[in-house]
Point group: D2
Chain length 348, copies 4
């Protein structure tokens, strides 16, 4: 931590800063410049808020050095985290594809989609049973019934399941059905929920909020990990900017940067990242080329009848065309498309 004093700060003010540094157990190194004095703070200050110093008289700014997260950082954990779900391996050389509808709408819809994405080579079925919706008047999901439909599709087609959990209370129930718990973009700083998923032993896909910096995404991962659940995947799904032609601005820079800052796997969501089905294939390929460890893609058998996210859903036949293209780009960057054998049903 570097504490920069104002140009006209007094010796007494500087002395007070030095004393405060010592109080928190660190070592102050004052440097007296021509215009300003700077106090460098040596020692562990990760648990010390900047604010302990920021409002002392005479302080101009504070610069923290090093990341505020520890468990999630590559600095403290240089090797890649590999997440195994039965025989699926996420975070290694293989690319994993998760696909399925935005919302679980009916048993037929789920089974039809599951069949199609399985045939095309996906290994994990996505589908929302609990839906965060901007309007209270929109469809809010089928709840437990939706989970049961997903479970049936899993058994029948030998897929794994990822589905969203929205409230702390629902975590145990959703964890009973899902192989991966999804935390949505709107819940990136829902700390009650982060704590709750930190206490179960299910892998978590943590979606970056539309307003989250990469550092905040990593801090939210840190919440989950500090609760004891280390199997976290980071998911880039687009951020909110002034550009409105696409639903979000897909920040693929986050892929190489998060891989550098953290050891956690990075999954990309080109469906939300673009909001337009006709841009999904190009951006799915781009995400793989950028180094993503997997993709999560919305597929719906009848997008024009979809209750939610129809405009960004691929039809099964387009998804089937996309998979071999993903395979080619994966191989061009020395990865492979995962093709492990079908999963065995997990006992409920």
């Amino acid at each position: 931590m570097i504490i920069v004093m104002k140009p006209n700060s007094t010796a007494a003010e500087i002395g007070a800063v030095i004393a405060r540094v010592q109080e928190v157990g660190a070592t102050p190194h004052p440097i007296y410049g021509v215009e300003r004095t700077v106090v460098a703070v040596v020692g562990e200050t990760r648990g010390v808020d900047r604010e302990v110093f920021l409002n002392l008289p005479g302080v101009e700014t504070i610069t923290t050095i090093g990341a505020p997260y520890k468990l999630a950082s590559r600095e403290s954990h240089p090797d890649d985290t590999i997440i195994r779900i039965d025989n699926i391996v996420i975070g290694g050389p293989e690319i994993v594809v998760m696909a399925g509808p935005c919302s679980v709408e009916s048993r037929e819809q789920v089974l039809e989609t599951a069949h199609a994405v399985k045939e095309a080579g996906a290994q994990i079925l996505r589908g929302g049973a609990f839906k965060p919706r901007t309007s209270p008047y929109s469809f809010q999901g089928l709840g437990l019934k939706g989970l049961e439909m997903l479970a049936e599709a899993r058994e029948r087609y030998g897929l794994h399941i990822i589905t969203e959990v929205m409230t702390p209370e629902a975590v145990p129930m959703v964890a009973e059905y899902a192989d991966i718990l999804q935390l949505g973009a709107r819940n990136i700083q829902n700390y009650g929920l982060l704590h709750a998923v930190g206490r179960v032993q299910r892998p978590v896909l943590l979606k970056r909020g539309m307003m989250s910096s990469m550092e905040e995404l990593l801090m939210s991962a840190e919440y989950i990990m500090s609760g004891g659940n280390y199997r976290v995947m980071l998911c880039e799904r687009g951020i909110r900017t002034f550009e409105k032609y696409t639903r979000n601005t897909f920040d693929l820079n986050a892929v190489p940067v998060l891989k550098q800052l953290s050891h956690l796997p990075v999954i990309a969501d080109p469906s939300h990242g673009t909001g337009r089905w006709d841009a999904v294939p190009a951006m799915a390929l781009a995400a793989i080329a950028a180094g993503a460890d997997g993709l999560i893609i919305e597929v719906h058998p009848h997008p024009s009848a979809a209750i939610s996210d129809g405009p960004q859903s691929l039809k099964p036949e387009r998804f089937a065309e996309l998979m071999p293209r993903i395979k080619r780009v994966a191989e061009a960057v020395d990865r492979t498309l995962s093709t492990v054998a079908n999963r065995q049903p997990v006992p409920a």
Copy 2:
């Protein structure tokens, strides 16, 4: 709703759109242009998602007309909503000031601040007992003990209390202590929480999220209102932009615009809106001039020792200096600063 067809859309595609409009119980008005066909939809379509049409073949874009919220809209409720809390009236000609520390840190701190803000003329004491923090290693609040300290300060100084609630489970407990429930910016789309506060009969201060559009803020108010709790105040507290010199960009445009779009009272938070105590007075005055119905301001007896938000907290003496300036500006825009007599303690 206006459905714009692509230039090369076929008669069959247009026919399918027309049929779909009829299916949802509305009346289609196709207009055949030189380059494009447009289908205007007449009838109530508030409950109909754009997506029902957006992914039909041949559809280019959809424009919705009118607001997607109803209970919160001025169109359906032309008169201002007035929220009464004992003898305090929010949303009328009087300006109400809420003040106090970001976090409740100790009994002494709360009592000292309560005394100071009361003396200066504030009527509502703010203070967080449950704190949403970016880092799992930061102070998370005193919880129930903090609520008890706030209640003690309320009794002793005849103030009302506003405090944040973060999880659905905590709503009943916080509602027992607080006169106003605060929903924080990070929870603007925490739908479980919105539902929970919609079911209690306590006024709610709903803070705009750092990446929420005004429409989304109103949709979140609609969630609460659709649950039966109509006493919602909207709070502008700054949005996230590229400008980093201030903590947030204080979007005071939201004050006149929200007053136009909605009948709900609008409160401004210059502390979070700026993040710098030295800009708080100017922006508090600006908010009143823009038409805000009240202010929520962070005041801490020793900002340099504050556990959170010290840099944006006013010292009690600066707050005391600010209050008469607020009064002058309020009067210059034909409002008054509320000076109703002390509240009577509410039975727990």
Copy 3:
């Protein structure tokens, strides 16, 4: 400047950084921490790009201390800059109001507007003869003819004139007609133009770009001032954000912050800041309460017939209603509304 080394930086890398600091004539102060080494740089480094150090091996980040601008900074020039244009004084206790149409459209329109804004108490007439337009097919301004119409209005009604200049070549011509040169938001980093207006002796109103940080605005002022023209006014006119209900997000935080960072006068433009005439009055008052030294407001006799910016233009009668309200708020913050006697025509 503070140079933070990577955790695993070598002694040789640190040595190279120290040597480079000495090469640029500054004094290095290395501080050896547990995880990282930091090199504080003492001495004048305003002319030294961060990049001189940023790409040296082993360097993680660089923090610059102090502002990169000098002539525009309050640190180097503590007293407020007062700009006098005949008997009008900008930057002192008086609030100055500039008003008029977005574009000069015809002689009648200019004269009618000039008459109206003069009657209402404005002292400076705005109007664009050269118009930056997003589309090449939109009206681009009347050019020299427009300048002549402005000059006629000036003579007849005893107003001063502010008008935009868009290209370096046009600076001498526009400076011959205008009392104040306006630089538009799109030209904030048009360095050829900044240099050109830096070489004339006409006051300049420099509009913040829609994506400019406050620091960049001050750096652009520095460009003009470093050319020898010190009479620069900073203008907040809204920035581009995700919020689309208003044309721009009017960043009134910039008013107190710019007044703190700089000695230059700050003018606010609520017309562009909101883009909606019905929000202009509220935000004009807010800007004054926030501490602005003046306002620039679009007024058009027939907004519905305006060639540009009609939706954000006030009708003369609304502008006339607004002026006494501005006066009241100005007085509530210990300012006055300028009412100096009519100007005498300046010899061309």
Copy 4:
């Protein structure tokens, strides 16, 4: 164009709108709904500003249909534009790579870099002789001398040259030396400059502004094309958002979207798009996978000594490693890396 009336608009107001539509030569189609009336406008309205209607009494909003640009749109020009520069073909199946330093700093630096990028397979040498810099105290470029150095490198190594032009006056001089004129992000709405490059017959690389929507980028292309110069390449180079870990947010969504909206070639700039050399390779590959027609990459022989943009420059050896990776990804998306024979010098 669709004109939406306010809920309480009167018959007279609707009549006035209908009359105005007829005045501009289009056909009005009023649709009378339950709550609102809508007037659909049929006929060519590209030259008609929304503002002609927007401020008529009773009008709530206007929706324009179809793109405001014509020459740049794929709708009016379905086939891809192919730009030929001698034997280099941009916009066809081949990927073209432009590489070189941010600034031309010395003859040695240019020749060394030119040699290296030529060896690695680049065909076009980039280098700035005129530099837009945020600070007036930063290096502003070598000007004409820089152009001469670029020309020498071109002759010696058989490369083509792209270099930035900043002012209208400099266009003829720069066009004499450069094979491609680059328009920088800060000049995206410098209309004088857009007009000037529209009048020469040199291909133009038009960089998206950090605050430009895709539509604005296309409107700026339209400016150039409406002047008679149809050889425009669009360049995505990152936009400004709240995320500060990277210099810009590289909006690769723009690649497939611009290819859909327009027939012009799209080039990607991963150096500015990321601002970090260690993220450049990943994002260069991602851009190709997304469908870009070429790349522009900063390469500097000694990035740590670079006068500008060192942190985002690749060393020649890293660039040489990257080129075969680009080739592999290009082939995985059915493109090839251009390897045409050396150019012949163009007569000055």
